[in-house]
């Protein structure tokens, strides 16, 4: 594992056909290995995606992290399709962190925002198609027949007239000397053999045998384990601790004081924790000792009275509201949420004088590389980042805090170090989904038409910390996601943003702003439908005349659910739709409310239009996954704060949805010719409002706070 980094030169010398894609301001440029060598001095570095080996194996480099969303299967499917490869030839290669593997749209190597398919489809198809054309050309020259008489099929070029066939492996040497076609013709959709099929996932057999290597499962020779003692309260520092007591534990090798935390290293993790247990650290008071749930709630609600920054304005909302026949105003409040990835944070690092190697379950290779560079002062080509399987990501693993810690520790001890966070540390040191509240006013005219919508959202800024450059005019793009681009056709609409800063760090959490804004928008639309005494489905459809895709998913979900079928007393059916990451999703939830006021969700029907379908089984799984995580948040999850820190500590006080609580879920994928949309996140946003709307139908109670309680 610790083998020396493969140099670029060596990589390019491998016998076989390598196709790289260079992205330039004027578009994609396709390159062979030979051409790449010449290009090394250019500012743009080509991405290497595909290598056909003389051994008949086809290496496909995946630059995205596998965290359950299926990219290790769906991305290779795209190349294999264009290449007409035999799926059995495909060897998945996890790309190291380097410029060669940056996402061509982002210019960085990271996985998030449900972008993998959206950003990678075009370059991957081109790379596959170019290689295929080169293989055909090579075969036609070898056989002395015109190219037009040659076809590709399952990893071979076939001369149709003579039925002569040559395997790709027998062609690569010749093909690699050819010029790479710049505009290879892409396959027509009707001829797809892989795209659109539920090909089994590449990663599943290992995951079933317990053989998949997650970050936690990395073992490096001579490795130490590191654990961390952390303060409870935000901003609290160490005043004293008993270093000797820890060092007296047999097997404990190092105690490192970082001022606001202490690392303990040992031969085995149990010994490191024993050492941590006897440190007897005294901590200073935090910077916000009074921070607790009550204080936070007050701060959010009070901020609703502040003036916001205008994020959207159409028409004259205040005039429209004052002229409205009927109007309502509602306030919604949503909590901080934890990512609670099943695999707690961890990172293994080996820092040496002249190089450094990292093994980490990360969504952010570029970020990890930058952190290592900063901590070690090493050049990027001396740093190797190995991405392991991720035991869940959901945005948490976009952060590089754990990488920084592991590198710092390894630097001090001069040995490889596996840093393991406990679940408690993971829960209490998250970058949470921001709490937020919205005050929304809406008005209808006498005919029951929605005429005005005024929306103020109070929300901490995620981007201010992570991508400050993307905060334009003081508006956090995540905070107004789904509001700024809310699709209902309303003549007068006003959206304003109030930024609120608290000591609680916030970060990307599956579906980000849509995770809360879908709830407020889709609940309030229902409130307005009720005010207008109109059916919630019909009311929504009437506001989506120019938006056929949103309309269609609503119609399909409603039809499959039997929208107008009567339900028993105590039962209710609710609907919601939301566009996020270029995919349209509508969901109908059926709930029953028991005498003890507990809410049981019995059935969810989901309709999704995510454009062109790559792998329907993966789409279905991601919809289910989003629905279940969304339900978990809507019904159960809320991070608690007290005495200046995070009180929530483990699954006993932050429980997730369990198998016995999961409804029957039905997913319907709509056929579509649009570009592929994301699928990792869009399944989540509509479920909370669909359930709240169903509870309203069942009980008449409108739940405006999450998690829901009656």
């Amino acid at each position: 594992m610790t083998s020396r980094l493969m140099t670029r030169r060596k990589f390019l010398k491998i016998a076989g056909l390598t196709i790289a894609v260079l992205i330039t301001p004027s578009g994609y440029k396709l390159l062979s290995a030979k051409e790449m060598e010449k290009k090394t001095s250019e500012a743009f570095v080509p991405n290497i995606w595909l290598q056909i080996m003389t051994s008949d194996e086809i290496n496909i480099f995946v630059n995205k992290s596998e965290m359950g969303q299926g990219v290790y299967t769906s991305l290779p499917m795209i190349i294999a399709e264009e290449l007409d490869a035999d799926w059995k030839q495909i060897r998945l290669k996890v790309a190291p962190a380097s410029d060669e593997y940056k996402d061509p749209v982002w210019g960085s190597q990271a996985t998030g925002g449900s972008t993998s398919i959206r950003h990678m489809t075009e370059p991957l198809r081109k790379a596959g198609a170019a290689a295929r054309e080169m293989l055909i050309k090579a075969a036609s020259e070898i056989l002395g027949v015109p190219q037009s008489e040659c076809e590709t099929h399952m990893g071979e070029v076939v001369h149709t007239k003579s039925s002569k066939r040559i395997k790709y492996s027998g062609l690569v040497q010749k093909a690699s000397l050819l010029a790479v076609p710049q505009n290879p013709s892409l396959k027509r959709e009707e001829t797809f053999k892989l795209i659109g099929t539920s090909l089994p996932r590449i990663d599943i057999p290992d995951k079933v045998q317990g053989a998949a290597v997650f970050g936690m499962d990395v073992f490096i020779p001579d490795m130490l384990y590191a654990v961390m003692a952390r303060p409870y309260a935000y901003g609290s520092k160490i005043t004293s601790f008993d270093e000797q007591a820890a060092l007296h534990i047999e097997g404990v090798t190092h105690v490192i004081n970082f001022n606001d935390k202490i690392a303990v290293c040992a031969d085995k993790p149990d010994l490191a924790w024993k050492g941590k247990a006897v440190l007897r650290v005294k901590w200073s008071n935090g910077t916000s000792p009074n921070l607790d749930n009550g204080l936070l709630e007050k701060q959010f609600l009070k901020s609703l009275d502040n003036h916001g920054i205008k994020a959207r304005e159409e028409g004259e909302v205040s005039t429209a509201l004052s002229h409205a026949w009927k109007k309502i105003e509602s306030t919604y409040l949503l909590p901080y949420l934890s990512h609670a990835t099943m695999e707690p944070m961890n990172c293994t690092a080996h820092v040496r004088k002249d190089r450094c190697e990292i093994w980490v379950p990360t969504q952010n290779q570029t970020g990890a590389l930058q952190v290592v560079k900063k901590e070690t002062g090493l050049r990027p080509d001396k740093i190797k980042i190995n991405t392991t399987y991720l035991g869940g990501g959901f945005g948490r693993r976009f952060e590089t805090d754990v990488v920084e810690e592991a590198v710092k520790i390894s630097k001090v001890v001069g040995r490889p170090v596996k840093l393991i966070w406990t679940r408690e540390e993971d829960m209490q040191n998250d970058f949470y989904r921001p709490a937020n509240c919205s005050r929304i006013s809406g008005g209808i005219d006498k005919a029951g038409n929605l005429t005005a919508w005024s929306h103020k959202i109070v929300c901490p800024s995620i981007f201010a910390r992570i991508f400050p450059g993307m905060v334009k005019d003081g508006i956090d793009p995540a905070a107004v996601e789904g509001l700024k681009n809310m699709e209902y056709e309303i003549p007068n609409i006003f959206v304003e943003y109030v930024r609120v800063d608290t000591p609680v760090p916030v970060g990307f959490w599956r579906s980000v702003g849509s995770s809360h804004n879908a709830f407020t928008v889709e609940s309030f639309i229902d409130e307005l439908a009720d005010l207008a005494q109109r059916d919630p489905l019909e009311f929504r459809l009437s506001l989506l005349n120019k938006n056929q895709r949103a309309k269609k998913v609503l119609e399909v979900a409603a039809e499959k659910a039997g929208w107008s079928k009567p339900l028993s007393k105590g039962e209710g059916r609710g609907i919601a739709q939301h566009l996020s990451f270029d995919s349209y999703v509508a969901q109908v939830a059926e709930v029953s409310v028991n005498k003890d006021k507990s809410i049981k969700v019995s059935r969810v029907i989901c309709a999704v239009d995510c454009g062109r379908i790559i792998n329907p089984a993966i789409i279905t799984a991601q919809m289910e996954s989003g629905i279940i995580m969304g339900l978990s948040a809507a019904l159960k999850e809320s991070v608690a704060f007290s005495k200046g820190g995070v009180q929530t500590s483990n699954f006993h006080d932050y429980d997730l949805m369990r198998i016995s609580e999961v409804p029957d879920i039905e997913v319907h994928i709509l056929k579509s010719n649009e570009k592929s949309g994301g699928i990792g996140e869009p399944g989540l946003p509509p479920i909370a409002p669909a359930v709240a709307n169903a509870v309203f139908k069942a009980t008449g109670a409108r739940l405006r706070n999450l998690p829901m309680t009656l």
Binding site: M216, F219, Y389, I659
Partner: protein, 150 residues
């Protein structure tokens, strides 16, 4: 010295008896298929079999496991009907909770040839899955119970 019998293999370890079995299996024996999720018995990621019974290895010390027959995901036959059903139904997403899920389900099937839905829920309730693979888990258990035939 503590002697452990894991997946039919005998190990001798120089270790104090109070260490949770989970960490011994994972970091001492390097059988990393058994996962750490919470350490307090609330997630089921660490589920193994002790004398054929599904147990949370984070809640048992290595001392308590002495002399008992321990089976981990690596020791469950590679062609176990549940492992096959798990592939057939494409259950795992991130995959982290899955060894624990399979070990829990294996005990269920060993004791009930055709468990009811209710029984499946009750038995599997202690195993969390943040990715929400529950609908697939249900289907895979049923498939395995039916001898792999749909």
């Amino acid at each position: 010295m503590i002697s452990l019998l894991v997946n039919g293999k005998r190990y001798k370890l120089d270790i104090t008896p109070d260490v949770p079995l989970l960490w011994v299996i994972r970091e001492h024996l390097k059988l990393a298929g058994t996962k750490y999720g919470c350490g307090i018995g609330m997630c089921g990621c660490c589920t193994i079999h002790i004398n054929g019974k599904a147990k949370r290895s984070c809640q048992i010390t290595v001392g308590q496991a002495k002399g008992k027959k321990i089976t981990t995901i690596e020791g469950l036959s590679a062609s176990h009907p549940l492992k096959k059903a798990w592939v057939e139904e494409q259950v795992p997403q991130c995959g982290y909770c899955q060894p624990g899920q399979i070990m829990q389900a294996a005990e269920l099937l060993a004791e009930h040839r055709n468990p009811s839905d209710e029984k499946i829920m009750k038995t599997m309730e202690g195993n969390l899955c943040r990715c929400g693979t529950y609908p697939h888990i249900k289907r895979a258990i049923k498939l395995a119970a039916q001898g792999g035939k749909k």
